[in-house]
């Protein structure tokens, strides 16, 4: 990118040789070594670099996920299970990728807030901002596409709802939706193309990131004071000053990310994401990932069409869709909506509060978006959408003209001296509160359970906590309950006999156990199917050869596969325990349908499964008293293990990783301090 003809000199001969032919080292030197950067950045300025690192993590983990993924409506769900359970470190790839998306959005949302707060979109950085919004859109599209790939209930229905947004377009809308699907509903063609685009878009994102950064390097960075550099005293070279600071910030951010990946990987995941897609049944509540909730809340908050002379001019659906897409598109115009000559909110007393209110507003919308679409969620959605548009369309232009701003510091170095040693971190700390709050609130509705059931019992599980591990004796008892009771109706097709070694059975015991089942195999050389004794490499034998047989035998009901059950239910093992112990006589005025039982904890109370466990049903081999409580507890723990077989390995590795990251962060902090010690 340097146009100068004089050759840069390097000490290393190889570097020199390469640079004479391809001046890549000159470019790095100019763009980072010499690139002058305001010296008063606070930690908000870390998040661009952090977002870039997250992008790299997503691409790398994504490519390795792709090596195990099968984009087929019948195989996709199983291939993700296979990745998580069988592939070496597959669980790590998946949890890093899943949670990586969330942390990528956290970084980008903070980065975006930084831009708004300090006026980084203003002249001469309009294009930097615009390409930033393009990146946001691309990221949202990529995240949505990726969410559909596991082909879970959330995947399929999320895909249906989001693609159907386009049906709001007058006349051609229906055709566009069919075109997007490649059929009359979300199906195989949809999955294939979504996979192709999910793989393609990140590389387009990389290209746009390049443009975004290029434009930034032309105009130079903004800074918290919002005044442009006037002399050399105002700036420091990007390297080593900001490479040191960014590295420190990145490692701190990654530590938090890893804490979630290793200790709470399903914190942000919806249980319906662990049930395979059923295209004939929508789950009772569908919600997008937390980072889309505010926009989703706006989408849902319109329920009345606009009528003129009895003709519906704009339907409620069109209003909702317009409000949702508009909320992002409006960001493109921010540089022209806000004409204030002062950049930084620090010197704009009213704007500052209006913007903070906008952040709170987004938190409220996030919360509302996660609630069922009735009553207070709709009211909050409407208020939230109203303030959002009021802020951008009215407040920004108005304040830009009328606001009485505070006097600006005369230069960056004056600002730096005035604030040196304090202030910078305080800003970030203050800002972190709403973001954490937002995340917490976004999760709150998930934790809420159906209103008509009592709260789940909160039992103590030995596998809980950072140091918790499974109780092998309980797992074996649980397996016994599964084998003698549950397995009469429920399959566990992702668990193999050989996996039972992890819960303490010997190879010989497993061989004998597997051999005690007859498995259908074939066809043999005569084209016949035949029966053979099971092998340790078979999955636990399913009670029915296919769902149709199960339905026919069980009065229309289809017992879910249990391999993943604990992850697929809100409340996990507590839920399993609650259902197993929740069979009580129905209240007098409650009408229970034929073929159903009353269960306190089941949503709607009518459960098709007859009471599976009673006290004394299973004779435990280890002599544990066979109370209902013991039976239910041990099978719930067994199912937790079946859903999360790598939990112990995950936590053990997690502790090492976190310790490493903390020490790394310490070293980087010391480095950063040392580098900065000569800046005054």
């Amino acid at each position: 990118m340097s146009g100068s003809k004089e050759k840069d000199k390097f000490d290393n001969k190889t570097v020199q040789w390469i640079n004479d032919r391809l001046p890549i080292f000159s470019m790095m030197n100019n763009e980072y070594g010499k690139f002058q950067t305001p010296k008063n950045f606070n930690y908000f300025w870390n998040f661009g670099a952090i977002a870039m690192i997250m992008l790299m993590i997503m691409i790398i983990t994504g490519v390795f996920m792709a090596m195990n993924y099968v984009p087929s409506t019948t195989e996709a769900f199983a291939s993700i299970q296979h990745t998580t359970r069988e592939v070496n470190y597959g669980w790590l790839l998946r949890y890093m990728h899943m949670n990586g998306a969330s942390f990528f959005f956290i970084a980008v949302y903070i980065h975006l807030f930084r831009g708004l707060y300090y006026g980084s979109y203003k002249k001469p950085r309009e294009l930097v901002w615009i390409f930033g919004v393009v990146l946001l859109l691309l990221m949202m599209a990529t995240a949505f596409l990726g969410y559909t790939l596991p082909w879970s209930q959330m995947s399929g229905w999320g895909a249906t709802v989001i693609t159907s947004l386009f049906s709001a377009i007058p006349l051609v809308g229906g055709g566009i939706v069919t075109w997007l699907w490649g059929g009359f509903s979300v199906g195989q063609p949809t999955l294939n193309r979504f996979y192709a685009f999910h793989f393609l878009l990140p590389f387009i994102i990389c290209a746009v990131v390049f443009i975004h950064v290029w434009a930034l390097h032309v105009s130079g960075s903004n800074n918290p004071a919002g005044v442009e550099p006037k002399s050399d005293k105002d700036t420091v070279p990007f390297h080593p000053y900001y490479t040191a600071k960014d590295s420190f910030g990145t490692v701190v951010f990654m530590t938090i990310y890893f804490a979630v990946v290793f200790f709470a990987p399903l914190l942000l995941a919806n249980p319906d994401h662990f049930k395979p897609f059923n295209h004939l049944q929508t789950p009772p509540e569908i919600v997008p990932e937390w980072y889309f909730l505010p926009f989703y809340a706006m989408l849902r908050s319109f329920t009345v069409g606009i009528k003129i002379f009895g003709h519906t001019l704009i339907t409620a659906k069109q209003q909702g869709v317009a409000a949702m897409f508009g909320s992002i598109l409006i960001l493109f115009f921010v540089p022209w909506l806000d004409k204030s000559p002062v950049k930084s909110a620090r010197y704009r007393p009213v704007f500052k509060w209006a913007l903070r209110l906008l952040v709170l507003n987004m938190v409220m919308l996030t919360y509302a978006g996660g609630l069922p679409a009735i009553g207070k969620a709709l009211v909050m959605g409407r208020i939230g959408a109203a303030y959002y548009y009021f802020f951008f369309l009215v407040l920004l232009p108005y304040l830009g003209k009328r606001e009485k701003t505070l006097p600006l510091p005369e230069s960056i170095s004056a600002d730096f001296t005035a604030r040196h040693g304090h202030g910078c971190c305080a800003t970030v700390k203050k800002a972190l509160v709403p973001f954490t709050l937002g995340l917490g609130l976004a999760l709150a509705p998930h934790a809420a359970h159906a209103a008509d059931t009592p709260p789940l019992p909160n039992l103590h599980w030995p596998e809980q906590g950072i140091f918790g591990h499974y109780d092998k004796a309980a797992l074996q008892r649980g397996f016994q309950v599964y084998k003698e009771v549950c397995s009469n109706c429920h399959s566990m097709k992702y668990v193999y006999y050989r996996n039972l070694e992890a819960i303490g059975y010997t190879k010989e015991q497993i061989k004998a156990l597997a051999a005690s089942y007859q498995i259908t195999d074939g066809p043999d050389e005569n084209g016949q199917m035949y029966q053979r004794p099971g092998k340790p490499t078979d999955h636990l034998k399913s009670p029915f050869p296919n769902p149709e047989t199960a339905r026919a035998a069980l009065n229309g009901a289809l017992p879910p596969d249990m391999s993943n059950l604990v992850n697929a239910r809100e409340g996990g093992p507590n839920y399993v325990y609650a259902i197993l112990t929740g069979y009580v006589p129905a209240p007098k005025d409650f009408h229970v349908m034929a073929g159903h039982m009353y269960n306190e904890y089941f949503p709607g109370h009518q459960i098709a499964m007859p009471q599976p466990l009673v006290a004394g049903q299973v004779q435990f081999q280890d002599g544990t008293p066979n109370t209902l409580d013991n039976e239910a507890r041990s099978v719930a723990e067994f199912l937790d293990w079946a859903s999360n077989p790598h939990m112990e390995q995950r936590k053990r590795l997690g502790i090492k990783v976190i310790l490493f990251m903390l020490v790394f962060a310490g070293v980087l902090l010391a480095t950063k301090r040392k580098v900065w010690s000569d800046v005054t």
Binding site: W179, L180, G182, F184, P189, G305, T312, K317, G320, G604
Partner: protein
Amino acid sequence: MDPAVKKGATRRDFLYLTAGAMGAVGAGCAAWPLIDSMNPAADTLAAGSTEVDISKVEVGSALTAVWRGSPLFIRHRTPAEIKSVRDMDWKSLRDPQPDEARTLKAEWIIIKGVCTHLGCIPLGQKPGDPRGEFNGWFCPCHGSQYDVSGRIRKGPAPLNMFVPPYKFVSDTVVHVGSGHDFPNPGF
């Protein structure tokens, strides 16, 4: 300027423009096969019709069949339900249609069970499902409510649920996918 030179310049401009335009048209045409390849394939289009046996659907209950990858709601309506959707001022509805224009026989309502808001499957087919205020169907996604004619009555959906073309082959068998074409304004 020398007219000959000028003439040459005009011709050059003309050629530039023509070449540029042809390039653009060519690129546009080349894009079409790519775009059209994403539309439903021939086999998807061919899987069009299905026959459903409705003899076992008792009055007041429902059956869900599959048509073109979507659920097909078939409901055997009670006299009270028929009355509720016929004796009313349908002209004031959001998507005004009389029940008569959506059914062949008053007892049977047959619709594509896809919410016209954003494509979820409404509840109300199974006993015990919520059916909303109008005793028809209730969409769990964003709360749209339909009456026993599948007409939108409340919530964000803009249109009545789609009535597919069908005909009664006999009293107990319907053929869905061709037959009587219903007006489905808005689709």
